[in-house]
């Protein structure tokens, strides 16, 4: 019989982590409860709200729709790693300047999803920004300021390269 708990080894924000996890534990619960990385938030727990967005092997995923055991051997990056590296410093400051957050609950997921779009390069249209962030709920801002912030950063990054 296979196991109810398994040993996994992965890197989280560049550090190697070895833990024994229950098969039923979701990735976001593992990050928050076992590793105390509480920047990834839990909203709906069924893939609708995007508050738990993290990167696995470079791609954004729902932390609530992946199991921790599935991340054996994977490279996981949370908002703590993504922000500590300075990769999204401009996004963070644009969100702050444009009031693109109020309660802040959605912000880690929102920043991770926005960075996923912006790292593809170019200046996306407002429609493209809205579509890319369509899987991330914000219940405070009405999204307009968030789209403003992401658009401003896209323009600034494109300008900086010219």
């Amino acid at each position: 019989m296979s196991d109810l708990a398994l040993d996994i080894s992965l890197t989280v924000n560049g550090e190697t982590v070895r833990e024994r996890v229950e098969a039923r534990q979701t990735l976001v619960d593992f990050l928050r409860e076992d590793l105390s990385l509480t920047g990834s938030h839990i909203g709906c727990e069924h893939g609708v709200c995007g508050a738990c967005t993290v990167r696995v092997n470079g791609e954004i995923v729902r932390g609530c729709l992946m199991l921790a055991v599935q991340c054996d051997g994977a490279k996981v990056e949370t908002i703590e790693g993504i922000s500590d590296s300075g990769e999204v410093a401009d996004l963070q400051s644009a969100f702050e300047q444009r009031n693109a957050l109020q309660c802040g609950y959605c912000t880690p997921g929102m920043i991770a999803a926005a960075q996923d779009l912006l790292k593809r390069g170019g200046v996306p249209s407002r429609d493209e920004i809205r579509e890319h962030l369509s899987g991330n709920y914000c219940r405070c801002t009405g999204y307009h300021a968030i789209v403003d912030a992401v658009e401003a950063v896209a323009r600034a990054r494109a300008g900086g390269k010219q």
């Binding site: 109810l4 979701t26 729709l65 055991v69």
Partner: protein, 284 residues
């Protein structure tokens, strides 16, 4: 912990997956997990074993073989979205892809999982029906092929047996006179549709032949609107023919949490008008 306790086994072979399904009556296959894990979190489903099939080789290819496009069951939505082969030879799938969930969902979700789950409001089962596609499944007696028409049996119910693993989807490759159309209405981009329509046809002079209209979100499976298909076929598509096709829409939706039956029926007509326009566009 949200889900009830279960065991987990990652398998690297199809044979082992089939055998495990035989040994454990209450096991579920884990592919992309984007529907399954949500149901586990809400304890709508409580299997005793998850068989992770993501490590099985050979199930994540996209290839055109003769007149057929074959898509491995473990191809992820994001992979299909970026595929040149899909864009050129399976344009209906390419059109549908951006409507499926959101980026983070499409990075994990698989085409095989979506077909096997058979959600009545999902895009891909409807596309498979519109294209007259088929699926391959492997079970204890070996491999078999099932046509789309006989595959979707009911609400979340397919022709797959308890020990079957869906391994591939096959679609006829588009030709120069293939026409496709896709549209859906959802409250938020990426959510399950209130009503959606996947359609294919063959250009025939000024009109269309072999029209296949596959509506989703209007029944317990995707459904063909055969009377509307007939009304749309056989001559130039003008307002009169389009109105007749909409009047002929043979759908029987039920009220659900999103919309009343009457609203769904109305929206189906709106979608047919939009999709008919797409069907008339020549391929580039």
């Amino acid at each position: 912990m949200k889900p009830a306790s279960f065991a987990y086994k990652k398998t690297r072979s199809l044979e082992e997956a089939v055998a495990l399904l035989g040994e454990h009556k209450d096991a579920r296959l884990l592919a992309g997990g984007q529907s399954l894990i949500a149901t586990l979190n809400m304890r709508l489903s409580a299997p005793n074993l998850l068989i992770d099939i993501n490590g099985i080789g050979g199930l994540n290819g996209i290839a055109k073989r003769g007149g057929t496009v074959e898509i491995g069951a473990l191809v992820r939505h994001a992979q299909a979205e970026r595929s040149e082969t899909i864009a050129r030879h399976a344009p209906l799938i390419a059109r549908a892809m951006p409507h499926i969930g959101h980026v983070a969902i499409r990075n994990r979700g698989t085409l095989g999982g979506s077909i096997a789950f058979a959600d009545p409001a999902a895009e891909l089962p409807a596309c498979l029906m519109a294209l007259d596609g088929e699926v391959d499944a492997t079970g204890p007696k070996g491999k078999r092929t099932i046509k789309a028409e006989g595959f979707f049996k009911g609400l979340f119910e397919t022709a797959l047996g308890p020990q079957d693993v869906l391994t591939a989807i096959r679609l006829p490759a588009a030709t120069a006179d293939t026409r496709v159309g896709f549209a859906e209405l959802a409250r938020r981009h990426g959510d399950y549709a209130i009503v959606g329509l996947a359609a294919s046809a063959r250009a025939d002079g000024k009109g269309l032949a072999d029209v296949r209209l596959s509506f989703f979100g209007v029944g317990s499976t995707a459904v063909r609107a055969r009377k509307a298909e007939a009304a749309l076929s056989g001559g130039a598509i003008d307002d009169k023919r389009l109105d007749a096709a909409i009047a002929a829409l043979d759908l029987d939706p039920h009220d659900d949490v999103q919309a009343t039956a009457a609203l769904k029926k109305h929206l189906a007509g709106v979608l047919l008008r939009r999709v008919a326009k797409q069907l008339l566009e020549a391929r580039t």
